[in-house]
């Protein structure tokens, strides 16, 4: 039993160490990823994110009150609006959101094409 307990303590030390190690690497990866991808983005691109998933949680850029000089009340107002929007989004389900068509060069001439519609059905897709 004692050997087993010592073993389990070792597993704990090792395991938590590895978890923290892996998470630290993820942190590094995320910092690099956001840095690398951000510099390739235009402002308009980043706006798109707002509508990527309104139903799951608040999106960052929508909240950006940040070190602004605006009054606290104004900020709260916005948060309240967001709460309402969130509740509505949750009622509506994810299929209701207006997913904008990502603009692509190659296929754009074929957006009307049936294959596109049938096989990927983005945008105005209604079914589920």
């Amino acid at each position: 039993m004692t050997t087993n307990l010592i073993l389990s303590l070792q597993i704990t030390a090792l395991g938590m160490g590895l978890v923290f190690g892996a998470i630290l690497l993820l942190w590094l990866m995320m910092v690099i990823l956001t840095a690398v991808t951000a510099e390739k983005e235009s402002a308009s691109d980043s706006l798109e994110v707002d509508s990527v998933d309104p139903s799951l949680t608040l999106t960052p850029s929508a909240l950006t009150p940040s070190p602004s000089p605006r009054g606290r009340g104004e900020e709260l107002e916005r948060v309240a609006l967001l709460a309402v929007a969130m509740a509505l989004a949750e009622q509506g389900g994810s299929s209701a959101r207006p997913l904008e068509e990502p603009p692509t060069a190659l296929v754009s001439a074929w957006q009307l094409g049936m294959r596109t519609r049938q096989m990927s059905e983005k945008g105005t897709m209604k079914r589920r």
Binding site: I11, M16, P102
Partner: protein, 377 residues
Amino acid sequence: MDLTSLLPELLKGFSNFTPGNGVMILAALALIYLAVFKEIEPVLLLPIGFGCMLANIPLAGMTAAEGMTKVIYDAGIKTELFPLLIFIGVGAMIDFSPLLAQPKMVLLGAAGQFGIFGTLILAIALGFPLNQAASIGVIGAIDGPTSIFVATKLAPELLAPIAVAAYSYMSLIPIIQPPLMRALTTKKERLIKMEYAPKPISKRTLIFFPVAITLVVGLLVPEATPLISMLMLGNLLKVSGVVDRLSNAAQNEIINIATLFLGLAIGSTMSAVSFLNLDTGKIMALGLFAFGLDTVAGLLFGKLMSALSGGKINPLIGAAGISAFPMAGRLAAKMANDEDPDNFILMHAMGANTAGQLGSVIAGGILLSVVSKMMGM
């Protein structure tokens, strides 16, 4: 034909009914009651309860070699397909932008896994062998599919009590966490407001993220690859925006069918013979301990981060690092908001919460790796 020889045949249902069957059917009814009238994780506990009921009707044959639930068990649990399919759907429902906007929150997802290992130690002390102790510990991942996946690999004989514990306590988060939150944080700490001024997250970042996570975690912890990759596949299907067909299939038919069958199959392992023993009771107790320990560790780490940051971090978000997505995140935000109606930390809490989801999968994979190696499996 001798009709009298048929009479015992006719009463076989009753004559084979054991007191254990009665107890388990009562347990099944309790699960169904909790699911339906208390809405405790109904999509899982209702099928589990129903499956448990079927497993304890004598001679019904559902769990026999060619019985329905056995067929489903072999097709989806033994192959570990169901928890992975569920993860595709869950991944398509997670939004990682709050986490990407504040990467340091990811640290809270590591602290919230301590319950896994603390429970493992306790389970060893209670006499469980290593593989079972690790499976019990992974209840502390506070994430259903992770618990089921690891338990199926290490100790399938304990799958039912582990799944029941994981999902039951999951819904009791709003009851389990608040007392610990109040006990471990000062009012001053709970009143801390947090700035939320992240840089905007581009769609490109959101698309690269699931791919990068799969590669990094896959290389670091190969055993976590199935879980993390399916979670990230689901997320990629959603954020890519080009395969709504598949994303919707993942969030609807795939997860619904897998959930129904997973519940039925797990419930069907709850026969009186295999479920009614002291171990089950111990597991339920250890599971509760795991939930508590996770919360405590998360909160203490939150306090540490708060102190290190000079009081800019509200330690309550540490409790969201345990996983239990998305309830733990909302609960932390609600606690802060209850203290001060002007205090909004939802974005930070959700960041910590999705970090907890990642941390849970990673910790599960690490546990699987270490224990498999040690046991020469």
